[in-house]
Amino acid sequence: MKEVAELLNAMRDAGVISAYALFGAIAQMRYTEGVVTLDTDVLVSLPSSEGLDALKPIYEFCAARGYKPEGEAIRIGAWPVQFIPVFSPLTQEALEQAEIADFDGIPFRVVRADHLAVIALSVGRAKDNARILGLLESGSVTTDQVARTAQRHGLADAWVRFEKRFLHG
């Protein structure tokens, strides 16, 4: 994972991407106990996202360093890494407000716990519901924080449903 952190920082320093932040299961583990996952998800913003192949500069940057595509991801060390351009105001905010964590001495940008919870809420699969519960149980985020972030992004109703089903049921 250290290799992933170094590559992402280098990619940003070279101007290939404007910013990045880890999200998904690997980001969740910063706040909760470990969860088994097959890949690493990275939110990215690109200097120019026009055109059909917005991720091409990322693939070229990786290929020049010997990292090869693997399905929808790029294999970096032990991890297939999926690059996902920000796709909504919620993910844009999550990227902008990401925190800089320390990963074995390497700065690594990670989405905040409330954004992780609300992104999970917006997706709504069983494992996303489990992610929200894990984040709440870890104490890294409160129900009020999730409610506020959900409200800002038009997910207030989804949050009320989640609370009824899993917290007040």
Partner: protein, 71 residues
Amino acid sequence: MDDKVRKLLERQAEWQKSRAKLSWAEKVRMVEAVRESMAALRRSWRSSVSSRPETNNLDGRPSPDGEPHAP
């Protein structure tokens, strides 16, 4: 519930919570180790089933990928 069992479950819950207190890097390394074990297990499973003449699904039909699947 038996008091012994309740205490065992409490200790187990505490142990599980303590894993969340590991550093982020340690948790990621733990997951990497689990993934490697799973991959090794899968490889050994594949090689053991490929040495058999035919692998059947759990309902007795031949399995197309050499691994048994529940019906």
